[in-house]
Symmetry: C2
Subunit: 384 residues, 2 copies
Amino acid sequence: MGRLTGGDPSLLRRINSAVVLHALRGAGSPTLTDLTRVTGLSRPTVEGVIEGLIEAGLVAESVPEEGGTRRQGRPARRFRFRVEAGHLLGIEIGPHRVAALVSGLDGRIIGAASRDVSDTASADDRLDRVRVVTADVLRRTGVSRSNLRAVGVACPGIVETDGTVRLGVALPGWTGLALGQRIQRSFRCPVLVENDANAAVVAEHWKGVAKDCDDVVFVLAGLSPGAGSLINGRLHRGFGGAAGEIGALHLLGRQLRPERLLSRTDEPLHPLDEQAVTEVFAMAKKGDARAQAAVDRYVQRLVHDVAALALALDPELVVIGGWAAGLDGVLEPLRNELSRYCLRPPRVVLSLLREAAVATGALRIALDHAEEELFAVEGTAARD
Amino acid sequence: MGRLTGGDPSLLRRINSAVVLHALRGAGSPTLTDLTRVTGLSRPTVEGVIEGLIEAGLVAESVPEEGGTRRQGRPARRFRFRVEAGHLLGIEIGPHRVAALVSGLDGRIIGAASRDVSDTASADDRLDRVRVVTADVLRRTGVSRSNLRAVGVACPGIVETDGTVRLGVALPGWTGLALGQRIQRSFRCPVLVENDANAAVVAEHWKGVAKDCDDVVFVLAGLSPGAGSLINGRLHRGFGGAAGEIGALHLLGRQLRPERLLSRTDEPLHPLDEQAVTEVFAMAKKGDARAQAAVDRYVQRLVHDVAALALALDPELVVIGGWAAGLDGVLEPLRNELSRYCLRPPRVVLSLLREAAVATGALRIALDHAEEELFAVEGTAARD
């Protein structure tokens, strides 16, 4: 109830700054008059705010274009949001690849880099690769570390809020790793660590197939499947950050213990052995019956996992990404089976961002953090 | 951005009213001085608001207790929130029973009524029973229909936002029924229809085992299992209102088609035949080996359903309710299996409210609606 009473002039200044900054981001190069009209603030207030934002380096006076339409008298000053006032870094740490993206404060990607890494690499080796990729992308884009506002990192596993990996069986030495802390050593800005499927769903909502959907499940298939969910447009992490970690489901469905599954001779699809899975799929394409049976089991398992998610969450849209997004014909069986088992089957589509989804999501998470600092005022939405 | 600018005096009055009403509900019988201190509002403002609330019938001057400590001079006027200014009705429509609860605006239950109904009763017959139970509980509590602020109704099935049952296989004639509209005929206040498991999770959060948990899954077992979920303390209905309708999951898990399941001779546990299930469980208790095997299958299926929910949502707490809450020994196998399959197993407990859970949730949903009208002001929380 406290916030219903009293007034806070510094809060008011922050609100006004946020409003003007929002308006500046939305418009091209507005004049003071434009800003006064859009924000509803008085001209002296807008002038004061703009002065402060210029001092903070977030706003610049835009240079009038040569040869533009001339009018009588001195042209009105125009202003622009300095997207180059800060940069964001998004890092994907995967079993086979480490990738990084850089953007300005507008989220437009200005550089990318990646390196292959062995799925048996130790955590230290993998983090070495992260440093190489990071240095590479910063060098290419000419962005200095001091200009980074936030770094987002996405990787497999259950990630604690402090950036520690609580459980991560997909990467060697990952469980228990203080990943956030380790990566933080290379940066002065905040480092935010997120589960890879969670990052991917954020990415598809931002720049992919889920732009217009607020209730989305992204299934990151290929390795032991994981999923990330948006509920009402917000990432659903779960109470312990483990939401969507559905890898164990098929074991239940088949009434098998893990040790039995791994030792079954007619079960070549060890969920963590991506290479073996790829080979089996290639064999199936060439007509090998035993491989085809294994592929059928794989698809059946994926259907089961996705159906469990769909029944539990009832999303509008299911996005299939990761490794399975490259499979021919995984979509139709999924749609057919979901329409059989779900009371209200969701739409099922392939990821648009494909292998860029996870890194793009990591970048968006960094951008969210930066925008919160720039725009967020208690009681107002950080995004429009 | 519109709400960041401008001021609305009527909004301010509403905020002040809500603040004073909140304070009145929290305190016993505060004086104007108490209210001024608690709300931070000026004395004239509080006086004006109190005057308005008394006119609206929501506040009364409390009568000073006889024999209380005497002080010099005229005693300060004290005020109280009139919980009797409005009443709420919660109705449960189940396969075997129709039940109703009545409360005042404080949510304290002041009356209950119920009637058995056949699981083969038509929708019209079931609605007749609703009218009988409603009339009964209103007569017993002396509450007139005109004093009802809202009616909550909970039943099996997927419920549209307009109160129509989109799909409801548990009750004859339920699919497609315009339930909200039908029940609305008997009332002048708003009628809100909700899925039964959704109502139950709201109830356990309000008055049951989930009071301190904001991430809860309630599994309403017995009939085809359904589940209701709270995420961050809010009901998660899903995009199409079908979240938690996990009844079809076990079919996937077993790789069986429904028609096959129903005709299997060693499968006496038709999910919709509660009577048969009860008999089988009784036989198992007496040592019947075939019945015991069926019970094991039932528990295994329940485990599978709950695990799917737990993996998808990662709740803090799973509450087992409905018919399975009466089973001996369903909890231990559930806990054991969940700890095997979930990366972070949730706590699993039985419903505290048991057979009252669904009707209590319906009542809470009605109360939520009434409180929103009483207290809600844009940008402020409706509940403390």
